[in-house]
Symmetry: C2
């Protein structure tokens, strides 16, 4: 019987790599994406292509509206996505409690589908400013998911797998290339144009491009100029 896993899949480079790792590890995968009112909605199209290309057994898209309260440049039209990366403090692109919400849905999906593994592409190297990408949060969530579901009564726990936690962007890209990830299907831009082309200037674009350069891999991203 195959092991089942729920994979949080954004359509970006990191989570595509995570799905490839879970598939390599023999998991039957349910990809889980969110339509949360983000500006960069071409992510969802990308997620669908990535899920299909890497052989996910299912792809669920959960629609939630984080614009109800905003609080991030990604979910509030009154806040501008900055061009340059500000490496101090919590970035304006931090979405309040986003990974907490995403992991909670992944837990619900896993519980209903009978999976005990959840994969998430958080990373402490490049996103140390985001509290919900740090190992301490992931550990706390693991315990919370155990105590808040039938796992606690049945004496098991969810494995919250974060295989990219300590990798640089270049290392993530090399890992993905080895596993056959087609990064031309993925999109990372916070501020793409209407055709889904990347801006090449936001923090996420900069980081992604530098990763390809450092990995010695041609950057397959389509930029708007």
């Amino acid at each position: 019987m195959s092991k089942k896993a729920v994979i949080l899949l954004s359509g970006g480079l990191d989570s595509a790599t995570v799905l490839a790792i879970a598939r390599r590890d023999g998991f039957e995968c349910c990809a889980l994406s969110f339509d949360y009112g983000q500006r960069h909605r071409c992510e969802l199209e990308a997620a669908g292509k990535v899920a299909a290309s890497l052989g996910a057994a299912k792809h669920n898209i959960v629609k939630i509206d984080l614009r109800l309260w905003g609080g991030s440049a990604l979910t509030d039209d009154n806040l501008k996505v900055p061009d340059a990366a500000d490496s101090h403090g919590i970035p304006i692109t931090y979405v309040p409690a986003r990974n907490l919400i995403f992991l909670s849905f992944a837990t619900a999906c896993a519980e209903a589908w009978g999976a005990r593994d959840i994969f998430i592409g958080v990373n402490s190297v490049d996103y140390s400013g985001y509290p919900d990408c740090r190992p301490a949060f992931i550990e706390a969530f693991k315990e919370c998911a155990r105590l808040g579901t039938r796992a606690v009564d049945e004496n098991w726990h969810y494995n919250i797998n974060a295989p990219l936690q300590n990798l640089s962007k270049a290392e993530i890209i090399r890992r993905g290339i080895e596993l056959g990830v087609d990064y031309s299907l993925t999109t990372s831009c916070y501020n793409p144009d209407a055709a889904g082309r990347s801006c090449g200037r936001c923090a996420s674009c900069m980081l992604r491009h530098a990763g390809f350069v450092e990995a010695g891999v041609p950057d397959p991203t389509t930029y708007s100029k």
Copy 2:
């Protein structure tokens, strides 16, 4: 400056009482309800009336689709709501990871709105079968919310208030009556008819009615027969 709190408000008896308690304690309240594909959607109308009658400053309704994966008699039409309460094990009306999801949204809402208090009407007396109603889960969530948000960098934490945790249904009703809750606005039935009238037979109806009887308060519920 008034203290702000986010209150999870279902439209049922318990969360109405919680809102009344938070208001008595001087909080400016944002009520948060979920349209999650539940069978008993008249809950949402009830939540709106309760929020208005108790002076909530705002009422956000978040639409999420837990029917994507079902797994509960409340979110899957293939599963029947049982008539009688089964006091052993986790009930079929348990919705996978529901309070984990609800509290995650409450945290996001609180973070964006600037609240540090969250109120939830969980109760260990009558709902000990639901893992996500127990104190150990609430404590674990508190830590998880701290570590997954800007609270951790700013050295504070969310208070997850569960003022009904150890009260019987009759005690909850007496508390609410003292605080002026109009329970005729609330609905608790898992299986109401199209007009929103309660069935009088599901576990939730039985518990509610017994609570009014024990509290010595006339039951204001409208039953379908």
